[in-house]
Amino acid sequence: MSELRWNPLLGEWLATATARQDRTFLPPKDFCPLCPTAPGGFPTEVPEPVYDIVVFENKFPSLSPNPPEPAIESTELYPVEKSFGECEVVVYTPNHNSTLAAEPVEQIYKLVQVWTDRFRELSKLDFVRYVFIFENKGEAIGVTLHHPHGQIYAYPFVPPRIEKELEQSRLYLEKHNRCLLCDIVAEERRDGRRIVAENDSFAAYIPFFARYPYELHIAAKRHLPDLTQFSTAEQIDLASILKQVLVAFDKLFDVSFPYMMVLHQKPSGGDYNYYHFHIEFYPPMRSATKLKFLAGSETGAGMFINDTLAEEKAFELRRLVEPVIWKND
């Protein structure tokens, strides 16, 4: 059963997807559904081994191009809609034991190409309003498969968090005649204390308003609403800064660092060119042994309490950043 149910208290949709209860949960390596099918082995989701990156439709989608009829009828107070959309899995590499951080920067550059292609293609679908690219990494986040992969949800509406950023960006533009995130990037660079890494095209920083101790944003220095508007040099610089940040995360506590990574881009269609592309990381670790939980204030009131200072956490990460070496350098 899968459907969209309207929450009149918050004015937002939620998806039910009961089939996801039965999805594969932390299988042993020999039965990983994201590995290429081995000769004589059990059939995985990826029958052929020849690829760099592979994308396929999620077996347990919460949104679908052919959604079932809702299990319950709409009322005036509680509208219900079919769950139109698309859910894709992006397998970063055929190598089961790798991570995005462990992959060469060239592989991350390939991933940027794939993200761009998927954003462009999914944005064309008439039932899609927003293409959301993300990765959940680590058991602390609740991943069910360890094989390095991300996901893409193509929603039939603009999700609430993006809606809020769009509204703030629009109001700021009206008031100051400037892009909000262009000004945030300029302010972070001017101050410098929260910068973690930087190159010609991007800045990585723990924002002034970080909600998690190691929340990190990567924003384009040039005003770019989405991936399709990047130059080749900007794609290269995005891969480089991602590699630097991911490696620094892993070195921080000498563990494969768990995180949620989300790409914020403009919605499909409409005049949203005032929005500014950026990536946000929400790592759940607040120390080598402790997790940040979303408890009463965060979940019940939407008010985050950060037990740390962004300036101190940025300093910790900044000293772990290493130069990136490309094979052709």
Partner: protein, 48 residues
């Protein structure tokens, strides 16, 4: 762009999955197709 050249042009192949319902898209790149094939074969054999 020396760095972009080290990866090469993107190629993609879209197919139907075994369930006949879902699609799968294989992405390969000019400069890595051969080496990837070898390393994946090795990985796949280890998984048997």
């Amino acid at each position: 762009m020396k760095r972009a050249d080290s990866v090469g042009k993107t190629h993609k192949r879209r197919e139907l999955m075994a369930d006949g319902r879902r699609y799968i898209i294989y992405y390969t790149f000019d400069q890595t197709e051969k080496s990837t094939t070898e390393s994946v074969k090795n990985e796949a054999e280890k998984n048997v």
